[in-house]
């Protein structure tokens, strides 16, 4: 009997096989079909998920490599479920993006990546987790390298080497931990972490290895320079998945690994971590302001938004004073909300840039457009919703997460939070400027033949945007997913 999680992980792999053997050139219908199946499984997981249970759910445990204590161990808690749902949402969204590179290879590679993502978010044993973690890297590399735009070789190599370098450090650190404690099991390690897994210099080396690996993945300033190149070059759908889901692997790693395993180390370097988070929050949107390329602009804003996640996490985990319960809950809930919200909002922004790119014949500098509101009011209207969501307008999803993160981090790291607020301001400036140069003014000659949102595009845009409104207005259903996990984790931290 195959468990639900295993099914979720392997359905996309089967899909990849099916796409490869599919007689027709266009693999999209079959890929989407498999997406529907895995999404249905993910919904089933949500349906059966017990929101009050404190332990891992849907656990499947099989012996795998007994010699090194590596088990096939998967299970979900609230955070894992949230990310599984996010993945199930973003991948089909990415398949519907334009402009799309054709061919079966593209879809097969994407599906392999999807499978790896599910695995990463559900594996509860380091060896298995690391396998999936690396397994997502290679499809991402290929997707950029083969189907990317200008400078794709350079960007892909940089992306691969950078993240791979990080992974190597992480692997070595875990080997060190394994030799000391003899286990790869996340739950066991987390309970051991309170008293320190390692001692002396080794502990610091292991901490640094894991930290750098995850910081590259998120990315956290200053380990971010691979990101603008990669996001800019990758085809729209891939950029959507990179920012929507892949970047969350890093945040997830921080929550699942670094913070529970190294509570003491994190407290000691806490202020420095907060400095890095605040740098992400302030410098990334400043750089976004200076970009002309829309994709690069959105890419920089992604760094900023993930910076908020890092701020919330570091504030509660790394500050020398133990945060009050309400602040701990606020910060963690805010981070989890932000993970999901940034996933859909940033993906939507890339989707819209893709629509513009397709209409303009793959030009996407802010200078290439003007006065679009007169020609394509619907496109502009819906795109503005995504932009306002991204800048944290109340009533849309972005506000909830950001408000809670700031609420939680203000209590323990007031000065850092106060500086981070500048990030909110600059994000608003960046979008206000973008809207001004894209939507207003006289209609640019080159845009005079743009079609407005097509029917099939509306079918994609409307549900995603509605989700932003629903989360912004009545977010309780989202909180229900992870409230117990939040309480659980804040107990671990205090």
């Amino acid at each position: 009997m195959v468990g639900l999680i295993t099914a979720i992980i392997f359905v996309p792999l089967l899909g990849a096989l099916a796409v490869c053997t599919w007689p027709q050139k266009n693999g999209r219908p079959i890929a989407l079909m498999f997406n529907v199946i895995s999404a249905a499984c993910a919904l089933g997981l949500w349906w059966k998920f017990d929101t009050a249970a404190t332990e891992l759910q849907f656990v499947e445990r099989h012996e795998w490599i007994p010699a090194i204590n590596a088990e096939y161990l998967v299970g979900v808690d609230g955070l894992s479920l949230l990310l599984v749902l996010l993945t199930s949402l973003i991948i089909p969204f990415a398949f519907l993006a334009r402009p799309l590179p054709g061919g079966r290879g593209f879809y097969a590679t994407m599906l392999v990546m999807q499978s790896a993502l599910y695995g990463t978010f559900t594996a509860q044993n380091f060896v298995l987790w690391f396998l999936f973690y690396e397994m997502s890297l290679i499809p991402a590399f290929l997707l950029i390298k083969i189907w990317g735009g200008e400078n794709r070789d350079r960007a892909a190599t940089k992306f691969f080497l950078y993240t791979f370098f990080g992974s190597v450090g992480m692997l070595l650190s875990f080997l060190g931990i394994y030799f000391a404690k003899g286990t790869f099991d996340f739950t066991t390690l987390a309970s051991l972490g309170k008293h320190g897994l390692l001692t002396g210099r080794l502990a610091w080396l292991a901490f640094a290895g894991i930290f750098v690996g995850l910081a590259v993945k998120v990315p956290l300033f200053p380990f971010h320079t691979w990101l603008p190149d990669a996001y800019q070059t990758a085809p729209t759908g891939v950029s959507m998945v990179l920012t929507g889901v892949l970047s969350k692997m890093g945040v997830y790693g921080f929550v699942r690994l670094l913070i529970p395993l190294f509570p003491n180390q994190i407290k000691i370097v806490g202020p420095w971590l907060l400095v890095l988070a605040v740098c992400s929050i302030v410098f990334a949107p400043l750089a976004a302001w200076a970009q002309r390329d829309l994709k690069r602009m959105v890419a920089y804003l992604s760094i900023n938004h993930l910076g908020y996640c890092m701020l919330g996490l570091f504030a509660v985990a790394a500050s020398p004073v133990v945060a009050a319960e309400i602040d701990m809950h606020a910060a963690l809930s805010g981070v989890f909300m932000q993970i999901f919200n940034h996933g859909i909002t940033a993906a939507a922004l890339f989707y819209f840039v893709g629509l513009l790119e397709q209409r303009s014949g793959s030009r996407r500098s802010v200078d290439d457009f003007g006065g679009l509101m007169q020609r394509t009011p619907l496109l502009c209207g819906w795109m503005s919703v995504a932009m306002f969501s991204s800048l944290g307008l109340p009533g849309l999803n972005g506000f909830i997460g950001e408000f809670l993160i700031f609420k939680g981090s203000f209590a323990v790291a007031a000065a850092f939070t106060a500086i981070a607020v500048i990030g909110l301001l600059i994000t608003a400036i960046v979008f206000a400027r973008a809207m001004q140069s894209l939507f207003s003014g006289p209609l640019a000659e080159s845009c005079s033949a743009f079609p407005d949102l097509l029917r099939k595009e509306k079918l994609v845009v409307v549900p995603v945007t509605l989700l932003m409104f629903v989360i912004g207005i009545a977010p309780q259903f989202m909180f229900n997913i992870f409230n117990t996990t939040v309480v659980q984790m804040s107990r671990l931290l205090s």
Binding site: Q436, Q476, S490
Partner: protein, 668 residues
Amino acid sequence: MSSWIVTNLWLIPALPFAASLVILSLSNVRRKSAAALAVIGQLLALAFSILAFLPTLQTHGFRVVQNFNWFTFGEQTLRLGFILDPLAAAMLMMIALVGLCIFVFSVGYMAEDRNFVRFFAYLSFFSGAMLGLVIANSLVLLFIFWELVGLASYLLIGFWIERPSAAAAAKKAFVTTRIGDMGFFLGMLWLYNRSGTLLFYDGGNGCLESAGLAMLGASPAVAGFIALLIFCGAAGKSGQFPLHVWLPDAMEGPTPVSALIHAATMVAAGVFLVARVYPLFSLGAINGVTPSLTVVVWIGVTTALMAALIAVAQADIKRILAYSTVSQLGLMMVSLGVGGVAAGIMHLLAHGFFKALLFLGSGSVIHGCHGEHDIRKMGGLRRPMPVTFVTYAIGMMALSGVPFFFSGGWTKEEILHATAHWPRSHATYYLMLAGVVLTALYMTRQIIYVFFGNSRSASERVHESPRVMTTPLIVLAICAIFFSVLLTPAWPWLHTYLTGESAQFELVRLIQPMFFVSLVLVGAGIGFGIWMYRNAGAPERNRPAEIDPLEYAQPALFRFLANKMWIDELYNRTVVAFSWMAAHLSDWMDRYFWDGLVRGFGAIGQLFAIFTTSVDERGINAGVDETTAGARSLGRVMSTAHSGQIQTYLGVVAIGMLALLLLYAWLA
């Protein structure tokens, strides 16, 4: 019926919101439906506001709150709520009524616009958000509506989106107010952190009630900082110095928008906010003075005087009114700062009516003059536009504070009264008196330029506006006059309504010594204006017609004021330039410094690779090559034996066999 609305206050903002949603889904040609929906939504909101207003009359200090859970995070709950008290009810009435007048006016004013439908969707959206703002019983909920009115303002300033100037003004408004809002946001976080709740009133546990204030009162300095951070938001929205720069530019929006959002309601939200969280400002007050309130006073004074001065030298009919709005908002802030909360709110309400009237009047003038904004090109309009003229004059006198018959006169009097009794400084009182003179002066100047004298280039072939536009003018003019009934010191009904006391009728109080001071000052302002501008727009001695009399008399001063004291230029050279540089510096650092480091690491890796390659090639590989070469030559020698000829092999086998046999024989 009315108790039902008290527990369902959310309906009041929900109706315009719903109207807005439906209108947004209409096609661009359904003009009549759009206008009808918007007006009906607003009408219903007004009806419900009246219903909500009625119960507040019954008891003094009426206050009912309806709190509910928004969401639960972890084990904590964020609660929101709606409140009905005199402050909220009075604001509801003003906003719904002024809003309705402006909605009706817009039907005429925007009749020819291509995006008529979208206009009404935005307008209804604004109305919903504004109505929600005043009944919020939670700082978060207030902040949410606060941002939504900001969004509506952004959309409506940039409504004529094909104009680059409108888009730039919209962006400026959005960004400038957001600077203030970030302060507000931080203040909110801090308050939440200190008092553990953001509900204003919650059966004794709210942040404005004794328990919450006691928690804050432990450190009055912190309470003061929180209040000032919240005031940053108020200053941004209400156009207080130094964040006032967006408001005059916001006049790029259609005139009804300027009337509703940038004169009567949204810009007053800052004043309302300060009044709403007043207990935070006055916490630990000695004689009604706290450091935070003192800051409010001086910001207000600076704003009021600066804007009034600038207004004297503007030529755009709407910009004069915009600076006047900034100045009046400053006045309201002063009133709140010196402790006259009721007076400030009364002026806010009265100002809402007469300033909306003036803006709509200016809209009627602009409509009549075919889109001309420059008052120097108008003139003599009192004959072709009698209704506009009379109503405009009423608005002008209310704004100037002409006593007895006009609402503005009474409320201004109250504010001056409060200012005079401020223990901290008497300078504010005298500065406010100077503001009174200036206000009368610039309004006189404007009215002379527009309605008197001979008609000039833009005012030929002008006709009165249609009934749909003049009716709201008349309604607002009546409000501007009859509102005074509730304001006089003889029967200070509104004052007591807001403070929760009961009003006594005493005719004697109508005559007060300070009253004559302002009578003289207003007279002086108007008289000086008439004298100075008696021949405005016409040549006079050495002065050409197009030169302003003040410009002729004081060219340097006039230039300083006409250029808005060069504050925009100053900001552009400093704050804007600095941020833009910071943006490019960040980009540069990213491309060259941080990425340079990464590439440096890459280069080190490559160097190492080159080194190992050469070791491999010359050292290890060379040795291997030598060995293999030896092996190969040996093989070559050996391979000659493998000739492939059976005879040779058989011969060798025979020789071998022979040798073995011989060996065997020898050994045996």
